[in-house]
């Protein structure tokens, strides 16, 4: 427990950047793109500082414990800032290109970068807050910030998608509010004169609450945060929103927004899981259903972005299953998969964005063929993402899936392991199939044989390359991320252990 102003600064810096973008961004690019890049990089720097301190064993808090940055928060904070910075860098050229094509205006770009910064601030807030109620509020803030980004192009389809996204997620996350209120009403008497719903103290209070109340609360949390995470059957918003948003925003949605849902679940259900065997099975059933339905729907898609969106539904199942197991291996694997999925799914969405950039917006598998010869870097990035998601070594997805298989076997949940293994092979098949349809073979359609078709500029593929290299580095040398994952896992287990003592 160390008093530190880092958590506040993590939220404050992007907010300040957002302020600069909204007020001055209209006049110069420096205050628009410049402020966004500066804000993201500065936040990333602060996040790295925070990680350094957390790894040495501290947890940083401020504002009378309202904000608390522990190992799990640090993991999310550094992941969110890193991916956001990469996506912003990708956006610089990508959105400027949209501007030149007349699809958007300078004033709209102010909104774009401003909202990105607000989004970053909200994400920082979710990850560092120490109160369950404020976590709910911050979660809604991220929804609102991204909803306006989803409908950025003001097309009919994107407006509909954003409306659906907003309605479903806000309504869904309300269940989490019910859960929180329920928990508060039960917990308040045990924490007189203190805030009752601090995450750091929840572990001690939970065992005193009647099981019926806490089981009901868990159900509410799973529905609420599960909606945000895109868990089946609350996933209806996800494919539309992912498909209609601009490519960089899709990467953020799939890479980060659904992950905060998983993060919130990690903070809440794992508190209960060890006490109630039923919770483990309940979560495993939900997660397995999510994996299966997600992958079956993905096989049926022709639209690349919808295909990736359904893969997100499927992959988030792995994350939540691992977190639900409640054992060291399970939580470790869940968090590991959370990190890996963020990296490779952002990479895949950015690659599809590059394909759309080069072909003038084509994103149907049936319309594309043989792009690999013209766009070798994009093809390589896509395949790295695809194989990482398919869980083949030596890429990062393999390690987290292996950990999850081990965790499931350790609990003797064989049916869950079999489903996870089956979905893994289906994922590999689906992604590689899509990849070779798009990038390999001999081009046939007029658009693809068009001589003007060429590799995207370096400003775009550099972001993808960074993500691809991260996938490879973690795959070849998984130790690199172990300390942070270990620390994050310990944070969750510590709450559980505190609760386990009667």
């Amino acid at each position: 427990m160390v008093q530190s102003s880092l958590p506040v600064m993590l939220i404050g810096v992007p907010l300040a950047a957002a302020g600069v973008v909204f007020t001055l961004g209209r006049w110069t690019r420096l205050c628009r793109e410049g402020a966004a890049v500066g804000g993201a990089l500065l936040t990333l720097y602060l996040a790295v500082l925070a990680v350094g301190q957390v790894l040495s064993g501290a947890s940083l808090n401020c504002c009378q414990m309202a904000l608390n940055l522990d190992g799990l928060s640090a993991l999310l904070v550094v992941l969110v800032t890193l991916v956001t910075a990469i996506v912003i860098f990708y956006s610089l050229h990508y959105m400027y290109h949209q501007l030149r094509k007349g699809l958007t205006t300078e004033a709209r770009l102010v909104t774009y970068y401003g909202l990105l910064m607000v989004f970053l601030a909200a994400m920082m807030w979710v990850c560092t807050t120490n109160s369950l109620i404020w976590m709910y509020v911050a979660l809604e803030a991220t929804t609102l910030a991204t909803a306006l980004l989803v409908c950025f192009f003001w097309t009919r389809a994107s407006l509909e998608a954003a409306y659906k996204y907003d309605m479903l997620v806000v309504a869904g996350v309300c269940f989490a509010l019910f859960g929180t209120v329920l928990l508060y009403s039960a917990a308040a008497q045990y924490a007189p004169g203190r805030p009752a719903l601090l995450l750091t103290e929840l572990g001690q209070i939970i065992p005193k609450i009647p099981p019926s109340v806490s089981l009901l609360a868990v159900a509410f949390f799973v529905v609420g945060f599960g909606t945000k995470a895109g868990l089946v059957p609350f996933h209806a918003w996800l494919p539309d929103a992912h498909a209609e948003a601009p490519a960089p925003i899709s990467a953020l949605l799939s890479g980060l927004v659904i992950k905060v849902g998983a993060y919130a679940l990690a903070r809440t259900i794992t508190i209960f899981a060890p006490h109630y065997n039923a919770v483990i099975v309940f979560v495993a059933i939900m997660a397995s259903a999510s994996m299966l339905i997600g992958i079956f729907m993905a096989w049926a898609q022709d639209d690349l972005k919808r295909l990736l969106a359904f893969h997100s539904v499927s992959q988030i199942g792995y994350v939540i299953e691992g977190l639900g197991f409640g054992t060291y291996l399970g939580i470790y694997g869940g968090l590991f998969h959370l990190v890996n999925h963020t990296l490779f799914k952002s990479l895949l969405f950015l690659s599809v964005g590059a394909v759309m950039y080069a072909t003038g917006g084509l994103r149907r598998i049936s319309q594309l063929k043989g792009l690999g010869k013209r766009m070798p870097i994009t093809a390589a990035c896509f395949f790295i993402g695809a194989i990482a998601m398919g869980g083949l070594p030596p890429l990062n997805g393999f390690w987290s899936k292996l950990t999850l298989f081990m965790a499931g076997s350790e609990l003797h949940l064989w049916w869950a392991v079999v489903i996870a293994v089956l979905v893994s092979i289906l994922t590999l098949g689906c992604m590689v199939h899509a990849g070779y349809k798009i990038f390999w073979g001999h081009p046939t359609t007029a658009l693809v044989t068009n001589p003007g078709l060429k590799e995207v500029p370096v400003a775009i593929w550099l972001s993808m390359a960074v993500l691809a290299i991260l996938c490879i580095v973690i795959g070849v040398y998984p130790q690199i991320i172990h300390p942070l994952l270990h620390r994050g896992t310990e944070c969750i287990l510590a709450v559980y252990r505190a609760g386990a003592i009667p």
Partner: protein
């Protein structure tokens, strides 16, 4: 000179794995002739290093040289010691595999420099060679990694890399057929890979110390041991194209012929049988049942394939089917080994080398036929021997090697397997007799194919005198010589491979 003499096998292992990987990385950025040279140089370096490592091992063939490289993260928390050790190790069995992988890998790289050219009649290739060599060298590197793996876990990592490489290489021409074939190979072998994962998970959960060591199976409870063995066997079936997973291999003939050669003779499919040989060699107390399962499934594969032979017109597909049945021979050698016959086990191991050389030679010969004529249909070919005498010699030597004509290598390996089977008696003797029958059918069939393709009046004009294609001819000649002599130095090594009992 003294300094060179003091280099031990251990010092060579890390550069041995690194050399092909570095070569692969360089080839990504190269084109045409430059990539030929770089690939050839790195293949040569790999070969020389491998020769050094194997040569060093000859001083003490019972030894295992290990180079520990580090531990994997300890995902089990503090409750258990970190289990996984990354290590390169070489022993007699690894040396055998290393020999096959690097020699044939080297020859395939040399051969490819001519095969992938605009002069190739069947598939003229003008560019894309850098990508080809990159994947091929990565393949060689992964196979070296399998041969040098010190435990199951590490073997699995390299195993999956070979899956990726074969997928990319089978799809190399990127027409519909090859894309489909590559995808099929990837999915079928990845399914096998998941069984391997399950086996690893079971080992990890049930063993506290060294869960992935090669002798892990012996330390499991008997029921669990059989289960883990069956999982590994399924993985090996998928990789080694055994029934019921064998269909991907004939389809994979859509690959360029040197790749088919490497896939069949040395790499991909041999990884599967190598895994089973590893298990049988290192673990004791395998039950009679798992040996029976291995043997019967291999026998079933062999006889299914023999019937498929008769309906084939495509030379490469015949070779593919023949590969499947010969992998069955190796697995039967392992199965008899699990029943306690060291002779049969050694025969199976020798067959890895013998079949590698023989089948490699056959593929390279057929590759030369398609290179000059543009067809590989038996019905469209005749009199090839008149036009391409070296190819004819290569084909017949290869065919006699794999069908087991003395004094070629295949004879000795089959002889050992049959002897082992007859020694054991009972059902093993029945297996041996059935193998003998299959051998005779295959021999007759290959004779018929050879006579049809190489004799008679030539179906095509003589290639221009300029097109001697020396890289291809050299590779064929070297392999033909190896078919004769490989037993001489493989057998002493094989006799030092233990059989866990």
């Amino acid at each position: 000179m003294i300094a060179i003499a003091e280099i031990s096998a251990r010092d060579l292992l890390v550069p041995l794995v690194a050399a092909p990987l570095i070569g692969a990385l360089l080839c990504v950025f190269l084109k045409r002739r430059a990539s030929d040279y770089v690939a050839a140089i790195f293949a040569t370096i790999t070969l020389v290093l491998a020769a050094g490592a194997i040569g060093n091992l000859f001083s003490d063939l019972d030894a295992t040289h290990r180079v520990p490289l580090g531990w994997l993260v300890n995902i089990a928390g503090e409750s258990r010691p970190a289990p996984l050790v990354f290590e390169l190790s070489i022993d007699a069995l690894g040396a055998l595999m290393l020999f096959v992988v690097t020699v044939i890998g080297f020859l395939v790289v040399i051969y490819s420099s001519e095969y992938l050219s605009p002069r190739n009649v069947e598939h003229p290739v003008a560019n894309g060679k850098g990508r080809y060599y990159a994947w091929l060298l990565l393949f060689v590197g992964a196979m070296v990694g399998i041969a040098l793996a010190g435990n199951f876990f590490q073997l699995f990592i390299f195993w999956e890399i070979t899956t990726l490489c074969s997928w990319a290489l089978i799809s190399y021409y990127q027409d519909e057929a090859s894309l489909r074939a590559g995808f099929k190979a990837l999915i079928m072998t990845a399914i096998g890979g998941l069984f391997f994962v399950l086996a690893l998970v079971l080992m990890y959960l049930n063993l506290d110390t060294d869960p992935f060591a090669f002798d892990a199976l012996g330390r499991l409870a008997p029921g669990l041991r059989s289960l883990v063995f069956v999982f590994l066997l399924v993985a090996a079936w998928a990789k080694a194209a055994q029934f019921p997973f064998f269909t991907w291999l004939p389809d994979a003939m859509a690959a360029p012929t040197p790749i088919s050669c490497y896939l069949h003779a040395a790499a991909m499919v041999k990884a599967g049988v190598y895994l089973i040989a590893r298990v049988v060699s290192a673990s004791y107390g395998l039950s009679y049942g798992v040996g029976l399962l291995t043997g019967i499934m291999a026998l079933a594969t062999i006889f299914i394939v023999v019937f498929l032979f008769l309906f084939q017109d495509d030379l490469k597909k015949i070779l593919a089917l023949s590969t499947i049945s010969h992998l069955g021979y190796i697995l039967i050698g392992c199965a008899l080994g699990a029943w306690g016959s060291a002779t049969a086990f050694q025969g199976g191991l020798l067959h890895i080398a013998a079949h590698g050389c023989g089948k490699g030679l056959l593929f390279l010969s057929v590759g030369m036929i398609t290179y000059f004529t543009g067809t590989r249909r038996i019905s469209e070919l005749s009199g090839v021997g008149r036009r391409l005498p070296i190819v004819a010699v290569g084909f017949f030597v290869g065919a006699f090697t794999v069908t087991g004509v003395p004094p070629l290598a295949g004879f000795w390996s089959k002889f050992l397997i049959l002897t082992g089977g007859l020694e054991l008696g009972g059902f093993a003797a029945v297996i041996a007799i059935l193998l003998l029958i299959e051998s005779m059918i295959a021999f007759g069939f290959f004779l018929w194919v050879g006579q049809r393709v190489f004799f008679g009046s030539p179906s095509f004009d003589a290639p221009p005198a300029k097109a001697v294609a020396w890289p291809m001819t050299t590779a064929v000649i070297i392999l033909a010589v190896l078919c004769l002599v490989v037993t001489l130095f493989a057998l002493p090594v094989i006799q030092h491979i233990p059989l866990g009992m």
